[in-house]
Structure formats: structure tokens, C-alpha cells
């Protein structure tokens, strides 16, 4: 038909698009990994001192520039973490839409770049160019400030969140406690946005979010206590070091209560991240869009950036605490030390191992991210009283029980370490079996529908 002259991309443009996509798909993870692996370990006093001493030729203790070098390293690491969060958030936005589409028997965004990979860039550009609206009756200053609180809450978590053996900006002694604390920044931002929008829907969403996040801090804290008790430290890196590379060395398998605690933590994190089934704060069918109803353009994009960057945080925290973090199977602390070499700068093999550890951490985290997405597109939303019920009647008691059980368990494990070993193997085997059964069931589901079969076409 004449009036529908669709501008099919010319062959040249298509090649360009394919090239751009492939380039981006390879370059972005490489860039992110490079940033993390080469920048973040630099925020390390001995390394920086060695750098000043050997490369710059100054004595770090007396040189005036030392503090500047420290500050620059911190700044660079901060930039690296923020870039990492922003870009992963963006990519997750595309990824979640694709996964959701497949789950919903749709195709999903597949036009911008190969498989729609560049969609998130197009969306971001579109949102950046939109008008930054502030409702006339809104409290303009708070309205404008609220998204930054949310972003701050997300970014500050990344400071103490490890991503590899040496990839952590600051290995705080109270790392996990710090993470729990700064997450509350997000609530402040949500509350501000809901209040300042001067919209009833926004206020509703904000109050719901606040009630939810504040409540779920309690079971989350209790669940975190379980690995803390098992490791004897609050440091995130310490928690990971207390686990091993093989699955049966993970906290999740070593203690039945830890498995329970994992689920409690996971549910609480879903609630704190406002993900379905706990998306009451932005419940679309009830509150239109909840606390960010009135936002547009760049500030709206910030909320979504945080939402998707939170996916990484959810996965990373759970991985750190229960799933062995970055631990490479078969690589012990001695191996790490021996690979590093005796020099003031680590040897090449150490850097390579850093990459491997980052990869392992990312794989575990991405698995959990997938689970979160999958849950979101499966489950209905719960009501606010049920949300409270679940928290206080189910999760908190279970969390206490898990903590008390762990206390006893740790005594038993110290008395007879074999108990822990056997439990780990049994729980691991059970998990594998359950997963297998689940996949079987999934496969069966397709054939249960008349005239339906496995078909992976139509992308």
C-alpha cells in the first residue's frame, strides 16, 4: 500500500547496526569488567603506596601528593562503580523486557540493534530529551531532590559490595551492616517523592513503600545474622572468604537454617526492592504508578535506573552471603597469595584470577537476577495487610528460629565438623534433585497443552 512506505534499513545501515550491536555487546561487558578489575583494586592503601613509591618515586608517608593520589583513586573507583551500576541497570531494562516477553508468549523489543540490544540506549536518550515536568502544586525543591536520594541509596550500597577477590571499593569491617543501613536512603527518596508530588496516588505509594521497607528490614537483618554467625564477621569479603568455591562449601548448603535464611533474605530483598509480588508501592492496577506518578523525563529514568540496578544488588548480596560469592572452586586463599607473587604489584596470574572471580560472581548474581525477573512475571501482588502478615508472622519468627538454630549448629559443627560436611552434601544433592524435577515438570508443561510443542523460533 502506498501510504505505508516503511523505511526498511538499507543494507549498509543494517551492517552498521549489526556491527554496533556486536561491538556494544562485546565492548560493554569488557569495559565494565576492565573498570572493575583494574580500577577498583587500586583503592587499596598498600597498592597505592607501592604505586607512589615505585612509579612516582616519592615516599608515600611524607609526600604531599599522597592524599591527592588516594582521593583520585577513590574518585575513579566511585566513577567505575556508578558507571557499572548505570550500565548494568540499562542493560537489565532491555533484558527484563526480553525475558518478560518470552515468558508472556511475546517477542519483545527486537528492533534497535540485533535482538534489540541497543533498546535501552534509545530509551535513555528519549527520556533524557523529554521535558522535566514539575507539577504546579508540588514542592518543587523536594520533588527535584527526591530521585537523587534514591540514586544515592543505590550507589552507596555498591561501595561495600564485592564483585571479586579484590574488587571492592571499601572492604568495611561492618560491610553488611553498612549495606543494610544505606539501603534506607532509598526509602527517604521514595517518601520525599511521594510527599512532594502533591498527588494522592504518589502519597499512597510512598507510604506503602515506607511501611514495607521499614518492616522488611527486620527479617532481612535476622536472615543476615545467620551467615554472620557462621562466618564470625560483618565484612562482606570476610563472609565470602569463610565460604569455599565448591557448592557444598557455601553457607546455603552447610546449614539447613542458612537455606531457610536465604529464602527469608531473598523475599525481604524483593520487598525492599519493590519487586513483584511486593510492588505495592508502584502497583500499577491500583495506584497508577505509585510514588513516581508525577515524574517524567530524566528523573523518571533515574527511578527506573535504580530499580534495575537494584536487581544486581539483590543478586549480589544474596550471592555474597549464601552462595560463595566470588570463590573459585579449587582456589584457596593460599593459591591467591602464591599467585599474587612477592612483588609490591600483583603478578599477571593474579589479575587473570580476578577476572575469573568476577565472572563467577557475575554468573551467580545473574542467575538470581533471572529468578527475580521470572518471579515478577509470574506472581500476583499481595495486599498490604498480607504483606505485613507475611513479614511479622512468617518471616520474622522463621528468621529468629534460623538464628537460634545456627547458634546450636555452630557449636555442633565445631564439635564434629563431619556433621556439617554430610549436611552440605545432602542438601546439595536434594537441591539438584529438586531442580531436576522442576525442569522435568517444565518440559512436561509444554506437552500438556494440546497441539503445542517445543519451538524456539520467532525471535
Amino acid at each position: 500500500m502506498a501510504q505505508f512506505s516503511f523505511a526498511f534499513p538499507k543494507p549498509g545501515t543494517k551492517k552498521l547496526l549489526v556491527g554496533a550491536t556486536l561491538g556494544a555487546a562485546l565492548a560493554i561487558p569488557a569495559l565494565l569488567a576492565g573498570l572493575l578489575v583494574f580500577l577498583v583494586p587500586m583503592v587499596n592503601k598498600p597498592l597505592l603506596d607501592a604505586f607512589i613509591r615505585e612509579k612516582l618515586g616519592h615516599v608515600p608517608a611524607t609526600w604531599v601528593g599522597t592524599q591527592w593520589v588516594y582521593a583520585a583513586a577513590l574518585f575513579l573507583a566511585g566513577i567505575a562503580m556508578f558507571t557499572f551500576a548505570a550500565i548494568t541497570g540499562g542493560i537489565f531494562s532491555w533484558y527484563e523486557r526480553r525475558v518478560a516477553a518470552r515468558i508472556q508468549s511475546r517477542i519483545g523489543p527486537n528492533r534497535v540493534g540485533v535482538a534489540g540490544f541497543l533498546q535501552w540506549i534509545a530509551d535513555a536518550v528519549k527520556l533524557l530529551f523529554k521535558e522535566d515536568l514539575v507539577p504546579g502544586e508540588a514542592d518543587a525543591m523536594l520533588f527535584r531532590a527526591a530521585p537523587y536520594f534514591v540514586v544515592a541509596g543505590m550507589t552507596l550500597v555498591l561501595v561495600a559490595l564485592p564483585a571479586g577477590q579484590a574488587i571492592v571499593v571499601a572492604d568495611l569491617d561492618v560491610g553488611i551492616f553498612y549495606i543494610l543501613a544505606v539501603t534506607s536512603f532509598i526509602v527517604v527518596g521514595i517518601l520525599l517523592s511521594g510527599w512532594s508530588s502533591n498527588s494522592k496516588w504518589s502519597l499512597f505509594g510512598a507510604i506503602r513503600a515506607t511501611a514495607q521497607v521499614v518492616s522488611y528490614e527486620v527479617p532481612a537483618g535476622l536472615a543476615i545474622l545467620v551467615p554472620v554467625l557462621m562466618a564470625g564477621t560483618l565484612s562482606t569479603q570476610g563472609l565470602i572468604r569463610a565460604q569455599g568455591g565448591w557448592p557444598w562449601e557455601w553457607f546455603f548448603f552447610r546449614n539447613p537454617a542458612a537455606a531457610v535464611a536465604f529464602f527469608i533474605l531473598f523475599i525481604s530483598q524483593l520487598a525492599e526492592g519493590n519487586r513483584t509480588p511486593f510492588d505495592l508501592a508502584e502497583a500499577e492496577s491500583e495506584l497508577v504508578a505509585g510514588y513516581f506518578s508525577e515524574y517524567s523525563g530524566f528523573r523518571f529514568a533515574l527511578y527506573f535506573l535504580v530499580e534495575w540496578a537494584n536487581l544486581w544488588i539483590i543478586g549480589a548480596v544474596a550471592t555474597t552471603l549464601f552462595l560463595g560469592g566470588w570463590q573459585i572452586p579449587g582456589v584457596s586463599a593460599q593459591t591467591w597469595a602464591s599467585v599474587r607473587g612477592a612483588g609490591s604489584f600483583p603478578a599477571f596470574g593474579w589479575w587473570a584470577l580476578q577476572f575469573v572471580s568476577l565472572g563467577i560472581f557475575a554468573v551467580k548474581t545473574l542467575f538470581l537476577v533471572n529468578v527475580v525477573i521470572w518471579i515478577r512475571w509470574t506472581l500476583p501482588r499481595i495486599r498490604i495487610d498480607q504483606m505485613m502478615n507475611l513479614c511479622w508472622k512468617y518471616l520474622v519468627p522463621a528468621g529468629f528460629a534460623a538464628m537460634l538454630f545456627t547458634l546450636v549448629w555452630q557449636m555442633v559443627a565445631t564439635w564434629a565438623p563431619i556433621v556439617e560436611k554430610i549436611t552440605a552434601l545432602v542438601v546439595f544433592a536434594a537441591t539438584v534433585w529438586v531442580t531436576w524435577r522442576f525442569l522435568q515438570q517444565t518440559r512436561k508443561n509444554v506437552s500438556l497443552i494440546a497441539h503445542e510443542r517445543v519451538d524456539l523460533s520467532n525471535w
Partner: protein, 379 residues
């Protein structure tokens, strides 16, 4: 309408007045609810309709009898076959026409197919309103497959205009029968999958069970009908109890709410009655396809029928309850008065009295479970 409503609200309190609509994701068309809430708990929700009022009853007085048929499609765009059939039956009673058997069977088949599409939307939007988006897409997928069949039968996916005064417009296309049977196989298994996916889901059951209970007495008192009435435990189905068309020839069960997830008459009962009805519709269609007699498609009707003066009412069991056309004829070729009594309109009337004490999230569930469709309330 807001002025009068606002006068009824006590303004000297801490409660919040929210306009729940007319543009709201879960109002199923253009509805407005003036919701007075105390935090999450509603004091009252006052429905405000009329945004889709198209004066279909007035139009009925201006067009000739056959010309009104396409307008009936617009009364309820999710279940246009029923509106077609009800109108056709009313005019046939006025004209004292006997409809051929084959046409009656085709009417039954098309209506039951339409009941399935309508219920699929209903249960799908119900799931979406509760927060699960994916089941809606599955329901719409099944519906689109069925819409393809209806499109092959009558040429349109939504505004079918399939029934005619005295019969139906078209016979089944070639090969359609087998396609329908294959689809029904798929549908039966899909319903089971649907149950596993969402009906048995614990969150879903807890969200709907025991919420917005309409007791048996209340349901009758407020004139609810169809699945809403059956959800409240009243064993009543016009297809079985006041049979019309070809329904006496089929055997089927009438699902009645029995408190599957809590109390009889809660949202879950109204929802699950619809799921079970789809299976029954599938059963009816299979029987009809099997017993399909040969014969004419329409009785002999003049192009410009002129019924004698008098009045009739036709009652049929639509997907949204009882659809009754009240036709008054004054002996001319246009109806003197045409009235459509629709299920959704009656269902809207009960919301204000059921809503106190519910939560805001429950209002969404209540609206979805009553399956109100805005064009049908407003006409």
C-alpha cells in the same frame, strides 16, 4: 456528577477523597469511582458512570428493526453475540417467527464461543488487576486464537453482527468445524494450565478469597445475574431454567460458587465460576457441533419487518448476566421503545454498598470480579 456526590461526603474529617478513574488502569473502560479512604481502608466508593453513554436506546427508536443489529454489537463489545441474539429473539417474538433449527444451533455455538472469549478477558484482567500481568497475556492469546475462528465465521473479531432476525447470517465455513474442535482441545488443556498458574496460586487465592462477599440474599436483592449471581451461590442459569434457542438439546452443568477460597460469594467464587463456565461452554459447543442438523439458515423475514403493536421481552444468559431486551412496537417499521437491561449495570449498583471496609486493592478485585464493562453499563 461530582458536585452532588461531594455534597454527600463529610468534608470535615481526615479522610482522603480520590478520583479512581476515569482514566485508571483497572477500571475496564471509562469508569470513575469517587473513593473515600481512611488510609488503605475505604469508607465508600461511589461509582460514577456515563462516560461511554451513546444513547443506544434512543438510536433504537430511530432505525429500522434489521438496521439496529449492528448497534447491538456496541452494547457489549466483549460479548457482542449475546447482544445480537437477544435482540434477534426479541424481534422474532414480536414478529412471531420460528427460527430454523440449524440457525439455532449456530447461534448457540457462536454465543458459547463468545462466552469463552468474554470470560477469557474477564479472568485475564482479573489477574492483571491483582498484579499478575502474564496470565492476562495468556488469556488474550487463547482469545485471539478463538477470535480468528469467529472472524472466519462472521467476518469480524469484535463487532460480529452475525445473527439476523430469523436466523444467522452465514453458515460455517469449510473446515471450520475441525478447527473449532482442535481449538477446544487446546482450550481444555489451557484451562488446566491456567488453574495451575494462577487459580491455585496462594497469593491469588488469599487476595480474592473472603473479599467483598456478596451474600445470596444481597445478590438477589440487587438484581445481580449471570456469573455474579451464581458466584453468590444461587443456582440459576437462564439457559437451563428458562431455556431458549437450542439449549434444551444440550446437557451441561451450571457451576455455582461454593466458597472455594473462603466464603460463598467472595471475589474468588465469582472468578472461578467463570473459569468453570468456559469448560461448560466448550462442552456445549462439542455437543452442538456433533448434533448439528441440516436446514435453512434464516426464516423468511421481509427486509422491512413491520410487527404488530405490542411489547415483548427477551431474556438471554449473556456472559455478563441476564441480557433482556424490552421492545415496544407501535406497528411501524421502527421500534417505539427499545430497552436493554444489562448485567453490568446492575452489578455497578452494588459496588457502593459492598465497598465500605474494603481496602483500595480490594476495590480493584471487586470491580474485576463483577466483570463490569463500561459500554454495557452506559450503553
Amino acid at each position: 456528577m461530582s458536585k452532588l456526590v461531594l455534597r454527600r461526603l463529610d468534608r470535615n474529617n481526615e479522610e482522603m477523597l480520590i478520583n479512581f478513574g476515569p482514566q485508571h488502569p483497572s477500571t475496564h473502560g471509562v469508569l470513575n469511582f469517587l473513593v473515600e479512604t481512611d488510609g488503605e481502608v475505604m469508607r465508600r466508593a461511589i461509582p460514577d458512570i456515563g462516560y461511554l453513554h451513546r444513547s443506544l436506546e434512543k438510536i433504537g427508536e430511530m432505525v429500522q428493526y434489521p438496521g439496529y443489529m449492528p448497534y447491538t454489537d456496541r452494547i457489549d463489545y466483549l460479548a457482542a453475540m449475546f447482544a445480537n441474539e437477544g435482540y434477534a429473539i426479541a424481534v422474532e417474538r414480536l414478529l412471531k417467527i420460528e427460527v430454523p433449527k440449524r440457525a439455532q444451533y449456530l447461534r448457540a455455538i457462536s454465543c458459547e464461543l463468545n462466552r469463552i472469549t468474554s470470560h477469557l478477558v474477564s479472568i485475564g484482567t482479573m489477574a492483571t488487576d491483582i498484579g499478575a500481568v502474564t496470565p492476562l497475556v495468556y488469556a488474550l492469546r487463547e482469545r485471539e486464537l478463538l477470535n480468528d475462528l469467529l472472524e472466519a465465521l462472521c467476518g469480524a473479531r469484535l463487532t460480529y453482527n452475525y445473527h439476523r432476525i430469523g436466523g444467522v447470517a452465514f453458515d460455517m465455513p469449510e473446515g471450520w468445524r475441525d478447527k473449532v474442535l482442535a481449538y477446544l482441545d487446546r482450550l481444555d488443556s489451557s484451562i488446566q494450565e491456567w488453574d495451575r498458574l494462577i487459580s491455585t496460586n496462594e497469593i491469588y487465592r488469599k487476595r480474592l478469597g473472603g473479599v467483598a462477599v456478596i451474600s445470596r440474599a444481597q445478590a438477589i436483592d440487587y438484581g445481580l445475574s449471570g456469573p455474579n449471581l451464581r458466584g453468590s451461590g444461587v443456582d440459576w442459569d437462564l439457559r437451563r431454567d428458562v431455556p431458549y434457542g437450542a439449549y434444551p438439546d444440550f446437557s451441561f452443568e451450571v457451576p455455582v460458587g461454593c466458597g472455594w477460597a473462603g466464603v460463598v460469594g467472595d471475589c474468588y467464587d465469582r472468578y472461578y465460576v467463570r473459569v468453570l463456565e468456559m469448560a461448560q461452554s466448550s462442552r456445549i459447543i462439542r455437543q452442538a457441533l456433533e448434533k448439528m442438523p441440516d436446514g435453512e439458515l434464516t426464516a423468511k423475514v421481509s427486509r422491512k419487518p413491520k410487527p404488530e403493536a405490542g411489547e415483548v421481552q427477551s431474556r438471554i444468559e449473556s456472559a455478563r448476566g441476564e441480557l433482556a431486551y424490552y421492545l415496544v412496537s407501535d406497528g411501524t417499521e421502527r421500534p417505539y421503545r427499545l430497552r436493554a437491561r444489562t448485567g453490568s449495570f446492575m452489578a455497578m449498583g452494588i459496588i457502593e454498598d459492598i465497598s465500605p471496609g474494603l481496602m483500595v486493592a480490594d476495590l480493584v478485585a471487586l470491580i474485576a470480579s463483577l466483570d463490569v464493562v463500561a459500554p454495557e453499563t452506559d450503553r
